[in-house]
């Protein structure tokens, strides 16, 4: 199939940036979205042009590196799917596809579609440590964890930190990401000693990074490639309110 791509090009953080239109021909429906961009880039390199910069690593949907806003939807309209796992069979011949980077004041554009997500790292760092002995491996089942809690904690822990929640949020809030990290430790016995101080520190760091406030629109969880539940944000709010009301 033949496609028209409108891609955001920005040469460094000081550049103003602009949308540039490209034609890509003979795209196979079996290609992933990133492979389609690879084809475009190979051609651009042969023509002596600057290839389109985009983040990617595992291309298996588990690393959290890739991500772009495709036709106004973070990671494209396919649910529970990262950009690398989005396949061209979901598009049709002659489609015009708009491709933009995550838009957030806290995620400055490095180049084209690559944004700096260090703000997420600083939120994680603000969470600090958990009090567990770091010596030899503990005996199996020495700390019982209810199955339901283990499952919910694991669901939260599947967050890959891609940033789609921020990109999709009309308020540019990072609540779903921060909440996933707070929920996954907060549900486990090992996470209890620092549970409230961790929630408070991480929420304060999130606010300090310049993300917007949550108004419960639910756009984040709808685009999340890992299906982090909306309830995570309620759990974060509960832990945070407990911490600040003391």
């Amino acid at each position: 199939m033949n496609l028209t791509l409108k891609i955001w090009r920005q040469n460094g953080s000081s550049d103003k940036g602009r949308m540039v239109t490209y034609r890509v021909e003979d795209v196979s429906p079996d290609m992933s979205f990133l492979e389609m961009l690879d084809v475009l880039n190979e051609r651009l390199i042969l023509e002596g042009e600057d290839p389109v910069a985009f983040d990617h690593d595992c291309r298996e949907g588990i690393c959290g590196m890739c991500g772009m806003v495709i036709n106004g939807v973070a990671h494209g309209e396919q649910k529970l799917t990262t950009t690398c796992q989005l396949h061209m069979r979901h598009f049709k011949d002659g489609d015009v596809i708009t491709i933009e980077p995550w838009r957030s004041a806290a995620f400055p554009v490095i180049k084209d579609l690559v944004v700096d997500r260090s703000a997420f790292d600083r939120i994680i760092q603000a969470g600090g440590f958990i009090s567990v002995p770091a010596g030899s491996a503990p005996d199996a089942h020495s700390i019982p964890v209810p199955k339901e809690d283990a499952d919910a904690a694991f669901d939260a822990a599947t967050c890959i930190g891609c940033g789609a929640c921020v990109a999709a949020c009309p308020n540019g809030s990072a609540s779903l990401f921060t909440a996933a990290k707070i929920m996954h430790l907060g549900l486990l016995p090992q996470g209890q000693p620092e549970r409230e101080s961790r929630a408070k520190a991480m929420v304060e760091q999130m606010d300090a990074e310049g993300f917007g406030g949550c108004t419960n629109t639910g756009e984040c969880t709808a685009v999340c490639p890992k299906g982090i539940p909306f309830e995570a944000i309620a759990r974060m709010n509960a832990d945070y309110l407990k911490a600040v009301s003391k």
């Binding site: 708009t98 308020n171 540019g172 310049g210 917007g212 406030g213 108004t215 629109t217 309830e231 945070y240």
Partner: protein, 212 residues
Amino acid sequence: MAVTGAILVLFLIGHMLGNLKVFAGADSFNHYAEWLRTVGSPALPNRTALTIAEIVLGISVLLHMWAAVSLARRAAKARPVKYAAKRKSQASGYATHTMRYGGVIIALFVIWHLLDMTFGAVNPKGGDATPYDRMIAGFQPDRWWVALFYLVAMAMVGLHLRHGMWSAFQTLGLTRRPNVRRGLQTGAAVVSAALVLGFVAAPFCILIGVVK
């Protein structure tokens, strides 16, 4: 946002139930309005409870608006460069997207409503008429546009509460299970629909002449 919103929802429920007294006749309605002013009397001076309610509601409205404005300003700052493609909503919930402009419409409506029914400044009967007369005169067919404005404003209130009521529970961290959230979302839809119907009933019945 959540706490002030909850205060305002409680007020709306009381207000809606009070309005339904119009169907019980002029005496019942006027007596109810009088009772609001004399509740607690003679132990308390007249208007004590009413004045306290007015102060609490006034502060709630101001804090609710302040919270909304600061959230909107934070949102604008958090995304300085907008998307070129029209952002397609992926979450279900039309009501969510009406919160900000709907809130402005509701605020304008409240100003008109106070001028109309409380102070009588824009009411054909003026401020000296009985509450019942003011209400009947306010929604006569020759003033159909007033009734229409009330209907639009009530639709906005309904949408506002459709999102706002369950959202308050989420903000306060009380929706930690998916079934609790879904239950609250259904509850919000039912309560907001009941409120809208209750509020719309009086103007509509006056407009078509059922209540005179």
